[in-house]
Symmetry: C2
Subunit: 469 residues, 2 copies
């Protein structure tokens, strides 16, 4: 299991006093109870240290001041948004400054003509989505946490979501950033225009860097015309490999669904135990597809139905209207809540080529048997990005250890199938050692060179993503 590296000893009290002197005590907190409550995100198996102070920045200036002081003193800084992450990226490090961006929560500009919005990092995803919706525009990235997670956190982790299969991940909607660098200087990357190739693509470098290269203080996002409410179809299979084959064949037809989710048999069992939605006892896999193309949705779903039937679907239901469609995706929305009564669930995030989904699902099943744990598997099948969930009793030490091993075996399987250890959750503390496996020596050295170039004193979220040599 990952463990936080020991930070350098720091003069925590002094740092706190200095921050208060510069920023005011409405911004800086050193109260241990408050610090503890801000010290971790939603990841399991990730240690959280004891921070020296919490800065709740109101402005880019507050962020710059914090970094300038931290840089001078060599004190680690852990940037964080709403702490909804699943990899420990926002967890405190002993003696660190927690730099929380939630107060920087203003939408600065919505430009309807250019179809962009300029926002502070603490804006909650759903608030931005609703605000641009009033202008008939659409902010596409929709991580499951969208009602609580912030744009800054979404950008820092390059968050995914349900509609990536058509609209891409967070990074695909980011045009420009304001980033405070390790020494407190303020960098602007990118452009507000539709195109631009002046210099290196620093925007993409900071997207997904999980706070290890700089602190994002402003984001220019691209918007799209709001799509019409989607139509929905559900297909029920007895065999999970058939379900997977239907996914890759359907995607090869050229249809671009706006959602294509898969749930395996164990997931349906868990959901059915929580709420009976009428799935047959022998359900081995369920697909849910949506299309939001106003003129082709019905045809798209007819193609989906045809492909699913050809792959042995027992039943395919196509909703007649968007409201009925909402009922059909109820099962997918219940996957999280349905797992809660079962104990703890360690959610994995592998992504494989779509043609290997069947191998992934069969392999995950075998891993469950091998490590004697329940593994359910649901996810964004249209992208090959699945979330196997290892269910375990956290009070049972042996079961916990087996769950952790199964979790690692799933990532190894993802790599063996030509995939990646993380499709959208990020690395944080949780997957640091697997990242090294995925990258290999040369890519790891390249990562370290860039980290050192931008953060020579290693104060930006150190111990996360990569370790310094």
């Amino acid at each position: 299991m990952p463990s936080a590296a020991q930070p350098p000893p720091v003069a925590a009290v002094e740092m706190g006093a200095q921050l208060v002197a510069e920023l005011g005590d409405g911004v800086v907190t050193t109260d241990p109870d408050v610090l503890a409550s801000f010290s971790h995100d939603q990841a399991r198996f990730c240690p959280a240290g004891v921070p020296a102070a919490l800065v709740r920045a109101r402005s880019t200036d507050d962020v710059a001041t914090t970094l300038r002081l931290a840089h001078a003193a060599g004190i680690p800084v852990v940037p964080q948004g709403a702490r909804t992450g699943l990899a420990g990226g926002a967890n405190a490090i002993d003696g660190c400054i927690l730099l929380n961006l939630e107060r920087m929560n203003r939408i600065l500009r919505i430009d309807v003509g250019e179809q962009i919005a300029v926002v502070q990092p603490g804006v909650v995803n759903a608030e931005l989505s609703r605000a641009v919706g009033e202008h008939s525009l659409f902010y596409a990235p929709d991580p499951s946490s969208w009602e609580s997670s912030t744009i800054g956190g979404n950008v820092a982790t390059n968050a995914g979501g349900l509609c990536c299969v058509k609209y891409g991940v967070t990074g695909d909607s980011v045009r420009a950033l304001e980033v405070v660098l390790a020494d407190g200087s303020v960098l602007r990357t990118g452009r507000t225009t539709a195109k631009g190739v002046a210099g290196y693509d620093l925007t993409s470098l900071f997207v997904g860097s999980e706070g290890t290269l700089g602190v994002i203080t402003e984001v220019v996002v691209s918007l799209r015309p709001a799509p019409v409410p989607p139509l929905t179809a559900v297909a029920i299979f007895t065999d999970v490999v058939d379900t997977c084959n239907a996914v890759s064949d359907f995607m090869a037809t050229g249809v671009r669904p706006s959602l294509l989710e898969l749930m395996d048999g164990p997931t349906i069992k868990v959901v059915s135990a929580y709420r009976d939605l009428g799935f047959p006892e022998n359900t081995g896999g369920v697909l849910i597809a949506q299309s939001d193309d106003p003129s082709r949705a019905a045809t798209d779903l007819a193609t989906f139905a045809e492909v699913c039937r050809r792959h042995g679907a027992e039943e395919v239901v196509v909703a007649d209207d968007p409201a009925e469609g909402e009922l059909l995706i109820a099962a997918r929305r219940l996957v999280g809540p349905a797992h809660e009564p079962l104990g703890a669930t360690l959610v994995d995030d592998v992504c494989v080529p779509r043609a290997r989904l069947g191998d992934l699902l069969r392999g995950v099943e075998k891993i469950g048997v091998e490590y004697d744990v329940l593994v359910t598997c649901a996810g964004h099948a249209g992208d090959g990005n699945m979330h196997p969930g290892v269910v375990f009793d956290p009070t049972d030490e042996a079961a916990t250890a087996r769950a952790w091993e199964a979790f690692g075996a799933i990532m190894q399987l993802g790599l063996d199938l030509g995939g990646t250890i993380t499709g959208e959750h990020g690395v944080g503390l949780l997957k640091r050692s697997w990242l090294e496996t995925e990258l290999g020596d040369i890519a790891l050295t390249t990562h370290r060179s860039i980290k050192t170039a931008l953060d020579p004193r290693n104060i930006l979220n150190p111990t996360k993503v990569i370790t310094r040599q």
Copy 2:
């Protein structure tokens, strides 16, 4: 005008002999005539030095060997594809090794299910487009040079094209790269899966870095289902600002055209003098729009016609079928050839927010008057990316100097309007000093840090894009 920095003195003969010894003389050339013919791309005003040797690499190994030797000796390496660039990025530096990738021209794999292709850098864009077309797939990036430029060069410059307005630039279609680093080690970036957030986005860092960070030896590109042939409409205006306003209003309707090109009055005059296509004498601006949405193209173009008429278009013609549409875009295709008899044309590449297009076109007109040069303006209006062309007599020294100044004034205007100096052509040698203006000190320092981290001996295309401090 830009000038290449003086390279360090090199033992050119020795280096050539060493390369021949390692790679064979079928791969290495030191013949001065051959070297001269490979020493420049299609940029004007960019000096080309005298290279020590030309390596025509057959494999990643050849590239790695070349870089290993060059790195050890501290000799500059200039990577190049088909040398169709417009910014001098492929121009020789005195004493350099020209590292040409045209021989690495194999399409290694087309994966229809995953909708990706794996190609070597020397594959010509049009060849890839045709090869994937046989599988009813579509490689979207379509720079004007697509019949001759290579995928490696397209990736190294993050090339644009006509269909970016709907499908994005080259980088939006790149999933993964193989890159040989300065010291000859071979890095793999990215992933072949649809999603992936494991580590920093090194792929995007190398895309558009113009050979200054590494040499691209393999590219995994995303493909799309082939669109249907588009429908086309043309609108003719007397006033260029009306033309521009029609662009921003049309784009704000939510329609996503697959092409939206603008030509101003002077461009139409130049084209009409070359071939009479029946444009009225008083034409101030022409828009060409296409839609390739099979079920909505007619509606999209009806919206286009309505917006154009509302903005005072004198005439709007909507083609009844794709063949007639080809006739309508003939004028756009003739812009290049029609300029050739006029002397030399220095083609700019500014990109501004669409709402500022009118200010750009009016400003460019004024610059023409102020510097007493003919400036024509055509480009990818849907993206705000225009190519003002400064026409001059290269044998007239004073006119040449005025053209160069006008070229700079256009970039300053682009920056003043919230835009960028280059939407798709890149920086190379041509725009290096303007890049510094656009970036500012902090971004420039960040660029230099990254350059130094990845190329500590400064051998990779030095003097291009940025200078080392």
